[in-house]
Symmetry: C2
């Protein structure tokens, strides 16, 4: 670039970080010529709001339009070209060949800095074919418009949603609000695979309670069609499901073709490889948003995380560096995510058990069940928290939280602790805000820390909720009423408040497990027995209630 000429910044893709990048570039450089190319009809729409508009919880489609091309010109002097596709990057001559999708004309746009933000596109499973008239994704405003129009015909009584991920579940809820019958089909034996199976059970319960038909571990063999219309789904086991509309939410893949064709490095996870300034293998070319791979904080390896938060942050950083060399750095990501499913909220951050096992990472787990604010304050609602941490140093590896209120707060605090490489001791020590309407003096976060601290000091150790009880002396310290509602076969029953008087009824030589409803009283019991000299005592983390979730999950 000639130092005297105007810097030309070309941004390809107006959503998923591109609009952020363009606006930020302008804030860093008043002279640059900034152009934003978008294939679709609109830039910077709130794609996370699409499901909620589908069901009418967000009243108007216009509320999703975050910014218009006019505003981008007036405020930022960014020239927006919508309905315009980038076909090819000539890195040698720093030209992008573009096609105007209205006129069909092609033309070349020069750049000094190129920012790729084409985002991702819905995956098409093998049973999908083009041209079907009643099969939708929910990824763009155009998708939403098509779906809305189709539903408004009044000919849709039953919808099949394929894919029980975040967008799938949000769509299920909103379709249900519209009064259609909804069936959810998920290939895995659980919804929300970023959660471990037992933590997904309450979400599955909420879906069933609302009348959603769940098909878990169900492989779609093919669509049953009449002409170009799907009338039903055939599963691999030969069973059928009738439906008048199909909504696909089976994940997305990054739109990397343009980058691949230009010879830019694609990373191991299939996204465009970037450094922490969002530069690709060609330092004049940046990429951001769903297109790229971020560094995972815990794994320290590249990972695709197609979520709105990282997309916006990465766009901001790419725009600044491209426009003025400002070297803010993209932080690592944790895959922190949250979803509302009827009256349940489920959230996760960092690694889950499946990820640890797949990578051979040593971990321990602690469960806590608590109320979202002081239990004596009206409206206290239960939540379940699961923590994964390293046995060697107590470093927090990941967490999952499911409940009705306050889930977002707890997952954000744990995500902040993981950001700093914090340990379970940090969780125990955090000075959090407490008043009865907001939490407890010992917040669920503290309880997680305390529980894990005790485990790591063998004071006493935790046993996983799924532990096989053969060969153990199991002591159930619940009340008789609790026992009846949720029995633990083979256990010796001594209510906790009788244990100090009756513990000698137990065999002090046998390896012993303690259990109660949530593991709180089990902890007191395990401490007592351990301190009385029982050589091996473990408390079953999460107690009978988590054991029950686990049993339901593995049915």
């Amino acid at each position: 670039m000639n130092a005297m000429s105007t810097l030309k910044i070309l941004v390809i893709g107006g959503v998923a970080g591109g609009a952020s990048a363009a606006a930020r570039a302008r804030r860093c450089n008043a002279d640059a010529e900034i152009t934003l190319l978008e294939k679709g009809p609109s830039i910077s729409f709130a794609n996370c709001g699409l499901p909620y508009q589908l069901g009418g919880e967000i009243k108007s489609r216009d509320q999703l339009l975050v910014a218009t091309p006019e505003l981008f010109w007036d405020r930022f002097r960014v020239q927006v070209k919508t309905r315009c596709e980038a076909l090819k990057i000539d890195r040698q001559r720093r030209l992008v060949t573009c096609k105007d999708l209205e006129s069909g004309e092609t033309f070349d746009l020069p750049y000094d800095r190129l920012i790729l933000s084409m985002g991702a596109e819905p995956l098409r499973p093998p049973f999908w074919t083009a041209g079907l008239t009643n099969v939708y994704s929910l990824w763009t405003l155009t998708d939403l418009d098509g779906l809305q129009a189709h539903l408004q015909t009044g000919n849709v009584r039953r919808v099949a949603v394929i894919g029980g991920g975040f967008v799938g579940l949000e769509s299920v809820e909103q379709l249900h609000h519209r009064g259609v019958e909804v069936a959810l089909i998920e290939r895995n034996p659980q919804v929300l695979t970023p959660l471990d199976p037992e933590m997904a059970v309450p979400v599955e319960g909420a879906l069933r309670a609302a009348g959603i038909k769940l098909f878990l571990g169900a492989t779609v063999q093919r669509f049953i069609t009449e002409g170009q219309t799907v009338t039903g789904i055939e599963f691999a086991d030969g069973t059928h499901l009738d439906c008048q509309l199909v909504l696909m939410g089976v994940g997305v893949r990054p739109r990397t073709q343009l980058a691949r064709d230009a010879g830019l490095t694609i990373g191991p996870a299939g996204g465009v490889a970037v450094n922490n300034l969002l530069q690709t293998s060609d330092p004049q070319i940046y990429a951001c948003g769903d297109l790229v791979e971020y560094t995972h904080q815990v794994l320290d390896e590249p990972m695709r995380i197609p979520l709105g938060g990282p997309a916006n942050r990465s766009g901001r950083i790419a725009g600044a560096h491209a426009a003025c060399g400002d070297s803010l750095s993209m932080g690592a990501v944790l895959g922190t995510a949250i979803v509302r499913v009827f009256d349940e909220t489920a959230a996760c951050t960092g690694l889950n058990e499946k990820a640890c096992r797949a990578r051979g990472i040593e971990y321990r787990t602690a469960f806590v069940q608590a109320t979202h604010h002081a239990s004596y304050f009206p409206g206290a609602l239960p939540m379940t928290l699961k923590l994964l941490y390293a046995p060697a140093d107590g470093k927090v590896l990941g967490a999952q939280v499911v409940g009705k209120e306050g889930v977002d707060k707890r997952i954000d605090v744990i995500a902040s602790v993981i950001h700093f490489g914090g340990t379970v001791h940090d969780l125990a020590q955090l000075d959090l805000a407490y008043a009865p309407p907001y939490g407890s003096a010992k917040d669920p976060i503290h309880m997680l820390g305390f529980t894990a601290e005790n485990d790591l000091r063998s004071a006493p150790e935790l046993a996983p909720p799924g532990i096989a009880m053969d060969g153990w002396q199991v002591v159930d310290v619940r009340t008789t009423a609790e026992l009846e509602s949720l029995p633990v076969p083979g256990a010796v029953h001594i209510p906790i408040d009788e244990l100090a008087a009756r513990w000698r009824e137990l065999d002090p030589q046998r390896p012993t497990l303690t259990i109660c409803q949530t593991a709180k009283r089990g902890h007191v019991a395990a401490c007592w027995l351990r301190n009385q000299g029982f050589p091996i005592v473990k408390n079953i983390t999460g107690g009978a209630s988590i054991r029950k979730l686990l049993a339901r999950a593995t049915v």
Copy 2:
């Protein structure tokens, strides 16, 4: 201590950490003889719930009784002696002289480890005298019972609450719910002195909107009495206020007399000095809860923080170390606190401006106004966040948040960042959970980080909201309608979306301030002018709306 004899652990004070300490001691040691002495009639009650029971939001007084002496014996083999006061510690002989308040008898209790948890007691200002029949504090169940009985007589039409701190404000709200007229008297010119004045203004607004009569900056000269009954309050300026009942919430002081008499070291803040294992200057004697001084994370100096969170955590640590030498360590505290006042929630953590100024700590401030979840999602409510950070390295020093929803989450995340000594860059990089019902892709936390990052890089710099505008070229980039509702006299008006076309109307040589409603558009404007070569450009943080709060606060 003879190694063969049973370890005797004596805990003095059943609330504010003492109950936690005793239970924890038992969990660490099955053989120790553990005794818990409590002056009052009950142990381990939820004192943070007292105001809420006063107003009936917590329906029953029994809900506040967390644990009974019977449970402590049955479950923990802790012998509880209520209505029993410790008079004197003989450190040489390891004896505590106690008095049974029922029988009047005194007796000695031996200890190997002593844990002091007498907590704090309400401060008595100079105008208070003993024996008044209608002046209450709200610190114990006995206080609550007295207040309830008095209110139930039906003779109370107007209550004066003295002290606008946390308990004072919770009590004001609950008394209002009972249908009495409430006047709030606060010596300082603002309520909630842990907040800076402008951040308290929305809380004062909520109080006034509910019909509470506020007397701020009002010094009580004396009670006007008829016999032993207060009938009114006389202020220092000679004005009077009639009332039939007085509730005092002017703060608490630690009950250090016993420790002082025993020659234990009292710290600079007036609490019992302890190390991070909660040992006093006598290593066999521990202290915890409201009695002690904790280390303040940011100041690294001892500080009294009489709050439920640290009290519980410190009791747990003291109990463990006393019982088995387990050396978990008490984390630093930040003074994180939160209060609900009608429909507003106010929270703080770390240092405020007053604390920084008093100690000569260099700081900068950034304000952000945002909605608690995605603005396009129904029910989005506004919140105001204030961040203090170090100019040298961006270290977060403190924060305050006021709003209607989601305040607790943001303060807890910032408290977690301060726990790790984190910076504004950490705030910008945190991977928080985002879905429209819970937050924004750029969360208010991120916006604080972005705003402060820009400030520290002079890209552009922020000006404090209270900056005197003389000598500055002030550019107001709001719409005409906004200008009318909240004028900024002397400003040049160029709406943001016209600035790129009209900026040459400004004098490029003059030091320039930009302003809008919340500082977002002001930021865009300041970037533009700075990048056009204006030598000095600053954006007024928080914009006209925070300037307005500040003006109201300093009236």
